[in-house]
Structures are given as structure tokens and as C-alpha cells.
Amino acid sequence: MKVHTAELSSCVESIETYFHGIRAELETMQGLLVELFDRGPVDSAVARARIEPHVRRFLDTTDIVGAGYVAARGALSDEPLYLAWWQGDDQQLLAESDAPGTGDPLDYTRHPWFRTPERTGQPYVTGPYVDFVCTDEYVMTSTAPVISHGKMVGVVGADTLVETLESLMLPALRSAGATLVNDQGRTVISADPHLATGNLFDLSAYAEVAPCRDLPLSVVAR
């Protein structure tokens, strides 16, 4: 294994600590829901009530901007699409997401934060991207599949504002002269003032690539 500078390794460690912390919370929510779905049919009110106290505590004690459970199509007995999702300063419940103009429900199941855990059966971190289903903000979304009787009944997830991540990680990235990138080759946060968040990125220009453990993220430096 390649040995990286202490600064670079310390960046990787901070990123891992942050996102693995979120993942631990998601695992608790997963556990609560799997137990519920394993017992039989679940409706939206029951699913919501099961995780609400945990999600509210999670939002109260961290810098997460939104979190909750998002149902797979048809997984709940009463609603085809449903988001037991709380967000914002007042922790408002989302429940459903409508398209502007038509008012039809938005089919969130095609979005990467839903589709990737569905395909892989594994947790994922999507972004940075503009989320127009939940927050209308520029976010990184951590999601994990909820699997009952071999079937994915939805995902649990949490949104981090990219701005929050920038304020947490930029000092360390600066001292390492490094850039955090995602698995799509997109810049998340960079020490380089000319490398804007959200821009696509030519990985071949970077000599050092340090992947973050179990995360679709890497810290790179020239």
C-alpha cells in the first residue's frame, strides 16, 4: 500500500470519521425498520412513528440538514411513494415531494441516492448534487438500503450541506494541498482556489490518490 503524507492521511481520516459517524446512525434506523418490516405489512404512519424519535435526536445533535426513511415503490401498504423525512431548522416532515407546475408526485426512485443502494445492496454517499426532491440545497446524501425478506423496502438517509462539509474539511485539505473528489470524478472540496466545487476533474493530473475506506470518495494531491 502506498504511503501518503501525514497531512493527506489526516484528511482521509477526518472524512472517514465524519461519514462513518453518519453511517452508524443510519444502521440504527435500518435495524428499527428491518425489525418492523420483518413482522408484516407496514403503513406510512407506523414506519414514521418507528424512526421519528431517533431521527429528531440525530438532527438535534449533529450538523445534518435532513434525515429519514424513504420508501421503495409499493413497500408501504397505504402510499405508493413516501418520505418519512425531517429537515430544516424546524425539522419539518416531508411526507411527499411534488413536481412544480404539474403537482404530480416526483418519482425519487430514479435518483442515484436511491438507485445505487438498490443495485448494490450497500450504503452509498451521493453528491455533491442539487437535491430538488427534499432540501432544494446543494448536498451530500448518505443512504443505506433497508432490506426485509430479501427485498429492498426503501433507504434510510441523511443530507449534509456541502457548505457544512466545506467549513469542516477545508482547513485540513488546505494544509495538505489536497482535493476531495467523488467516484464520478467530481470535485467536492479543494484547497485549489481555482477548482470549484461541482466541477469535473481530471484524475490523471494527480500523483497521490488516497481512497477513503468504504466510501465513494478519495483525497488527491499533485
Partner: protein, 247 residues
């Protein structure tokens, strides 16, 4: 539309700026109706009281009352009595064809062009930036929104069309830009999609949207911009025909 929305301060002060003299009740009604439809005034939001509203708009209380009565009749405002009562904004149900036609009829050609211009410029700019910034996963998401040209469900067309443009806006990586497009879609998107009832227009739209996604995938900014400009321009031409046909 789900959101943690910021108050749109400037738009709001424009709504409550003083009005001139003629047709005052109708103008109060139109201005508030437009603000409610476009979401500047949010669903469930409490409106100022009749005297407050009258003072803010510089009209007589009776005029403000008349406008509120008309808004209630349109279903855009609900009034409750007693403690905690007042007039509250009610977002209209998704607009049906009849409501859209009457909205179109109430617009001047100047207003139609005015709205079409800002919509077209912003969406074309979004397409240009999306072409620079979209990755492979994004393209996959966009392709899911392309509709088979033989599809006859107009509702499906409208929905996919709106979501395609919203997704292109999100690919700019700018949350403010995306929120602006959400607002434009709520405000003007439904009107702009009236021509989708015409099968020939749908076939043309399908091929332009396919070309748009191809251009974004190829990182061809100019081509992406052109696709959107052509589509919006064509939509506006058709809308002008519909406008001319309304009695």
C-alpha cells in the same frame, strides 16, 4: 414542492407595493393570484388583515375586501373566523386545461413574450452549464426522462418534460439556479406545455430532448444551449397560436 424555502424578500415587497387607481380590486386580485400560483406566497401562509392589506397596497379597505372575496371564489384563499382566524393562502390544485386556457387568455402578448424570454434564457444557460458539468450517472438519470415519441399520455409528457428541465437546472450544481427554475416551472412551465396536446409537437419535442441529452453527454455546451432555445422558441410560437385562437 418540498422545501426549506427562504423568504423571497424582493418579490414579496413587490407584491405589497402601492397600486395605481383604476380597476383596483381586480389588480389586487390579479397580483395576489399570481403570487399564490407562483409560490411566492406559500400554501397555508396567513395574509395581512383587510385593513393592513389596504394600507400596504394603498387602496380602500373595501377594495381589499372585494379582492379577497374574488380570491376566495377562485379557491386561492380560505378565510376562517374567530381567534386565530384570518385569510390563508391555498395553493391551487395542479392546473387543469380549462384553468390554463383562461390564464392564457388573460395574458397579453407582451406578457407572454416577457415570460417566455426569461424562461428561455435561463433554461438555455442551464443547458450550457449542464453540458460542462454532467457526469455519466447524471446522463443515465436524464435518459430515464426521455419519452417514447408514440406515447399518447399528455400528462406523462408534461411531467417528464418539466422534470427533465428541472434536472438540467440541477446539473448546473447551483442550488439557487435550481430554486429559480423551480419557481419558473411553477409559474410558467404549465402554460408552456399546453402545445404538448399536439402529436406533431410531441414528436418534435422528443427529438429535441434526445438531442439535448446527447449534447450534454458529449459535453457540447453550444449544442445543448441551441436545443433548449429551439424548443422554447417553438413552444412559444405554438402558445402564441393558441393565444390567438382564444376568443
Amino acid at each position: 414542492m418540498a422545501t426549506v424555502r427562504r423568504p423571497a424578500t424582493r418579490a414579496r415587497s413587490a407584491i405589497f407595493a402601492p397600486l395605481g387607481d383604476e380597476g383596483r380590486a381586480v389588480r389586487v386580485e390579479n397580483r395576489l393570484a399570481e403570487a399564490i400560483r407562483s409560490g411566492v406566497l406559500a400554501d397555508g401562509e396567513r395574509l395581512p388583515s383587510e385593513p393592513e392589506l389596504a394600507a400596504m397596497l394603498g387602496v380602500a379597505t373595501v377594495t381589499a375586501r372585494e379582492a379577497l372575496v374574488a380570491l376566495r371564489a377562485q379557491g386561492l384563499v380560505t378565510t376562517t373566523r374567530g381567534r386565530g382566524g384570518g385569510s390563508f393562502v391555498t395553493q391551487p390544485a395542479p392546473s387543469g386545461p380549462a384553468e390554463l386556457s383562461s390564464r392564457l387568455a388573460s395574458m397579453s402578448r407582451v406578457e407572454l413574450r416577457d415570460r417566455g424570454t426569461i424562461y428561455g434564457v435561463i433554461l438555455a444557460g442551464c443547458a450550457e452549464l449542464a453540458a460542462e458539468r454532467a457526469d455519466a450517472t447524471d446522463i443515465e438519470g436524464l435518459r430515464d426522462l426521455l419519452i417514447d415519441r408514440d406515447e399518447t399520455d399528455v400528462g406523462l409528457w408534461r411531467h417528464a418534460d418539466s422534470e427533465l428541465y428541472l434536472s438540467v437546472a440541477a446539473l448546473t450544481q447551483s442550488a439557487r439556479m435550481t430554486r429559480e427554475v423551480v419557481r419558473l416551472e411553477a409559474d410558467f412551465g404549465a402554460l408552456l406545455r399546453l402545445p404538448l396536446t399536439d402529436p406533431d409537437f410531441r414528436v418534435a419535442a422528443a427529438s429535441r430532448h434526445r438531442a439535448l441529452v446527447d449534447a450534454i453527454e458529449a459535453h457540447a455546451s453550444d449544442a445543448a444551449r441551441r436545443c433548449v432555445r429551439m424548443h422554447v422558441a417553438d413552444s412559444l410560437e405554438r402558445l402564441a397560436d393558441l393565444h390567438a385562437a382564444v376568443p
